[in-house]
């Protein structure tokens, strides 16, 4: 039989900390978490501070692209920063990015999050951030849990961590 490298099933673990809630900071989290599950990697995502918006049922489908102070806007859409301050530009930039994302067949944030739950990724709202923003578990997408930072450290032990 052809020699194969040992299959390291269940030995790899990835934790992602999502700390930003803009559309362009949400997708890297979603795509990386989903790719990890596709590869059979145990996956945990900790949503903290503005990142909570991604796991918040009422906000997840209303994330915007930050136009001002976002240096990446220029090369992609050729929008100088000062134009980003004009009313309506955030809406326009967000609309453009949503359209580009949909063209690649990536689902909207809410649907993507449901897919992650179905794919078996573990999602957590940061307890301290939730207290600060007066949120409860009922505000989070079904399947997500509320977790303290210390418990997240315990869950992450031995795994790899990505901070977004």
């Amino acid at each position: 039989m052809t020699e194969l490298p040992a299959i390291k099933k269940g030995t790899r673990k990835l934790s992602i900390i999502a700390s930003k809630g803009s559309l362009d900071m949400a997708y890297p989290v979603l795509i990386l978490a989903n790719a990890a599950r596709m590869a059979g990697i145990e996956t945990h995502v900790f949503f903290t501070f503005w990142g909570l918006d991604i796991v918040n049922k009422k906000k997840m489908n209303k994330l915007n692209v930050a136009m001002v102070g976002n240096p990446s806007m220029h090369p992609m859409f050729h929008i100088p920063t000062w134009i980003g301050a004009i009313p309506g530009m955030v809406w326009l930039g967000t609309w453009m990015m949503r359209r580009e994302i949909a063209k690649l067949d990536f689902p909207p944030v809410g649907e993507f999050m449901e897919m992650l739950v179905d794919a078996g990724a573990h999602l957590y709202g940061c307890k301290m951030s939730m207290d600060m923003m007066k949120l409860t578990k009922a505000d989070l997408i079904d399947g997500a849990e509320v977790l303290g930072a210390m418990e997240f450290m315990e869950i992450s032990e031995g795994g790899q961590i990505i901070f977004v």
Binding site: L4, P5, M38, G40, A119
Partner: protein, 100 residues
């Protein structure tokens, strides 16, 4: 002697020649990965084979869930070791390149 003795794999365990694939090989690869194939696995595998024949690419999980009646949840239950790679392995195809 296993049926897999005659099959060529790359270093990651993907078959190097999709044309050499048979249903018996699929069963043997699945067994090696700790799975027993059911009718529902075959819905996914048959779709994967057709997808490859049409476009020359291995399907990603989203390709599968959008074009079959297999949901994301079921797909992960059928291929618990990660459908991104396992579907292609069992279907005798190369690693999928899509990100979703």
């Amino acid at each position: 002697m296993s049926i897999l003795d005659t099959v060529k794999f790359d270093a990651e365990g993907f078959m190097t020649d999709p044309k050499a694939w048979t249903k018996e090989i699929a069963e043997a690869i699945a067994a090696r990965e700790g799975m027993t194939l059911t009718e529902r696995h075959w819905v996914v595998i048959n779709f994967a084979r057709n997808f490859f024949q049409k476009g020359g690419e291995s399907p990603t999980p989203r390709n599968i869930t959008k074009n079959t009646d297999v949901s994301t949840k079921e797909l992960y239950e059928l291929f618990p070791g990660g459908p991104g790679k396992l579907v292609a392995k069992v279907s005798g195809l190369g690693k999928p390149h899509g990100c979703i």
